[in-house]
């Protein structure tokens, strides 16, 4: 009964919370943008870890090659490559092109880079998805790479003295650690709460690592490493360096604030600076089927939001609900405060950031689940358009 179905579909009622129709490819599943495959390097500690002397083109090339090799895909099928990067000059346009050639991808495949700060890698996915959606190509490679060992955050670029006359412009130069303190103060996130969260994050990561959950997504990288004694040697890095199974709440509580004397952000409850790379192959569903490629997820929606630069870390708390709303999904678990008087439903999840979402799962998790259950994946890059610093988002290229 087609007619009965159509009429009943009109009766979902007023939107409550985060219900909405998904906006992707209405009607025609062949037009879906699907995730075919993704690989990443281990995430290493900047300046001290396994990749402290490894150039980003090496990291990028490792993941690009691995994706192609796994799929046995002829590289000339790729319609475009987009690489997200923040610290290399010009977002690493040169580095990305060099990595492409080191991976055996011919010059006929174009390549560009993009910088949306911490969500650059995720933006690369959106970029490629956009290219597929508008019909420019049917298959594209989205990547992200960063070496925080070889490049440092600091030089803001050329800005005028007059910028200091504008409050928000001035806020853009606030160091990341201080913006974290601002978030903690403004939203009442206590030291205890942060430490508890850090502990559970460490425990989850350790459990996942121990269970071998990252094994399939990590590309082992062989590189040169100089140890404390100055001996140069060849090593192969196979696992993430930031995970500490031995973390205890007592240990975290003892750490001194890192950015502000009476602050609450410590080395134990904040993100580490990292080196690493990742690559994800996206395709139109019909093309994936044609080439016999696997489908491990569908990109249903994405959302980009701007937030005040002095509390830039709240980005995901705005972007994730927006992306879910577009996807027609509902936040499970912690759903945030109910909307206040006169506050729109759309913003109701403002302070109820879904911490589990943005801290826990690198892409492999989502994809793994998707592979078995056909689950759909939403992406939410959070943009602080003003602030050259990081937010944490659901992204495979997330270097805490």
């Amino acid at each position: 009964m087609h007619r009965a179905r159509v009429v009943l579909s009109h009766l979902q009622g007023a939107p409550r919370g985060l219900r909405a129709q998904n906006t992707a490819a209405p009607g025609d599943p062949d037009q879906d943008i699907v995730v075919v495959h993704g690989r990443r390097t281990p995430i290493c500690k900047a300046k001290r870890g396994g990749f402290k002397e490894t150039a980003p083109d090496e990291l990028l090339s490792a993941v690009m090659s691995a994706v192609l090799k796994d799929l046995n895909l002829s590289p000339d099928k790729i319609g475009d490559i987009c690489v997200g990067n923040v610290l290399q000059p010009g977002a690493g346009a040169l580095v990305a092109r060099i990595a492409q050639f080191m991976s055996g991808i011919p010059e006929t495949v174009p390549n560009h880079t993009i910088n949306r700060q911490c969500s650059s890698g995720l933006q690369a996915i959106i970029d490629i998805a956009g290219g597929i959606r508008n019909g420019s190509y049917d298959l594209g490679l989205a990547c992200g790479v960063e070496s925080m060992s070889l490049r440092s955050v600091g030089q803001p670029g050329d800005i005028s003295a007059r910028s200091m006359d504008f409050q928000k412009a001035r806020d853009c130069t606030i160091p990341m650690g201080i913006t974290s303190e601002n978030v903690a103060e403004r939203f009442g996130v206590t030291r205890q709460k942060q430490d508890m969260f850090a502990l559970s994050s460490q425990q989850k990561a350790a459990a996942a690592q121990q269970a071998g959950r990252f094994r399939n997504e990590i590309v082992p990288v062989t590189t040169t490493f100089t140890d404390d004694q100055g001996n140069s040697k060849t090593i192969t890095v196979t696992s993430d360096e930031g995970v500490r199974a031995s973390t205890t709440l007592e240990g975290l509580n003892k750490l001194r604030p890192a950015f502000k004397e009476d602050g609450s952000t410590t080395a134990g409850n904040s993100s580490q600076v990292s080196d690493g790379a990742a690559a994800v192959l996206l395709a139109k569903r019909s093309t994936a089927a044609q080439l016999g490629l696997p489908v491990i997820g569908v990109l249903r929606s994405y959302a980009i939001v701007g937030v005040p630069p002095d509390v830039m870390g709240i980005g995901p708390a705005f972007a994730i609900p927006a992306a879910l709303e577009k996807a027609g999904g509902v936040l499970r678990g912690e759903a945030g405060d109910p909307p206040g008087e006169g506050q729109s439903q759309r913003r109701s999840h403002r302070t109820g950031a879904s911490p589990g979402l943005h801290r826990s799962a690198p892409d492999g998790h989502l994809a793994e689940r998707a592979e078995t259950q056909g689950e759909e994946v939403s992406a939410a890059p959070a943009s602080s358009k003003y602030k050259p610093s990081g937010q944490r988002t659901v992204t495979p290229h997330n270097f805490y």
């Binding site: 007619r3 009965a4 909405a20």
Partner: protein, 382 residues
Amino acid sequence: MAEGGGITRAIRIPGRHGYAVEFSPYVPTRLACAASQNYGISGSGTLIILEQNDAGLVIIKSFEWGDALFDVTWSEVSENFLVTSSGDGTLQLWDTSKPQGPLQIFKEHTQEVYNIEIQFTFSLHCLVSCLLFKKSSRRLHPRKEEVYTVDWSQTRGEQFLVSGSWDHTAKLWDPSVGKAVSTFTGHENIIYSTIWSPHIPGCFASASGDQTLRIWDVKSPVSKIVIPAHQAEVLTCDWCKYDQNLLVTGAVDCSLRGWDLRAIRQPVFDLHDHTYAIRRVKFSPFHASVLASCSYDFTVRLWDFSKPSPLLDTVEHHTEFTCGLDFSILLPGQVSDKKCFHCGPIRILKGSQWRLRCSLKKQTISFIIREKNATEPLYGNV
């Protein structure tokens, strides 16, 4: 409004559910209603012509059709002609002066004609003769898919019909020839509503389940403007009668949004209050900023989007889904002072599946005509 000196006239027609209601542009007291059995989900359809008098509403004519009728539009060339759209993919031209109908059934020829370079102009005679001598039964829509909407152009120098179908296409028909002269593709889901611009010749708008509002020029098979109007199915749209760039859309997300064609990135207004999908919206013929909407929430709401609190009135006289709505553009002695207001909503389906089944037992159609006292200003300071 119920207390505001208004007159309410109602009629119940057993066994039928109304889908659309339209005032005659010729006879001020006359109305046409497209109705269907079984909530339009199965069964036959009926075109009902009603007359309002002191006694209330009276049926003066009714025509039967084998499938549900979803929309009706009055001809702009003769007071006796109407066109309906049906669930079987056809359009029907009816002549109320005839005892039986339809005069002609419009269904697409096997070959579609795409060339529409020439703008047609017809005199009344030309059209009538064409229609009267064409006895072959041609059906205007080529498919079995439901045709949910039909509209007769109102700008001078052209007599076209536009229809929108569940097959995702809109079609332009030349009623004197009895075939589609153009097909408009681009929508990616059901088209629920196609409405001619009252200002721009050859221009119409369409609302679709693909969540967009599209603006078309009959000279081009692709849409000129695509507006992602809602994040839900868009069920209805209408043009402002006083501003050629202004449209309104109503959607499953329960909101009405205004769109200025010169700046389509943001809606110019966003009206919330309905609690279920909005089925039909129409701008007032008398006030640039007044509009009326009816909804699956059983209500008809009146709005003035220029006001800080835009909801003027909520009319709750229906007990089932309200699908049809129209303003009268003429009533002797009342049009000129611009204080007269009518809306003729008709009621139809019930809510959830459970209620849908239950209420099948007592199918009724009810018409309600509301009329403002002519001496009383409409809504204070409109």
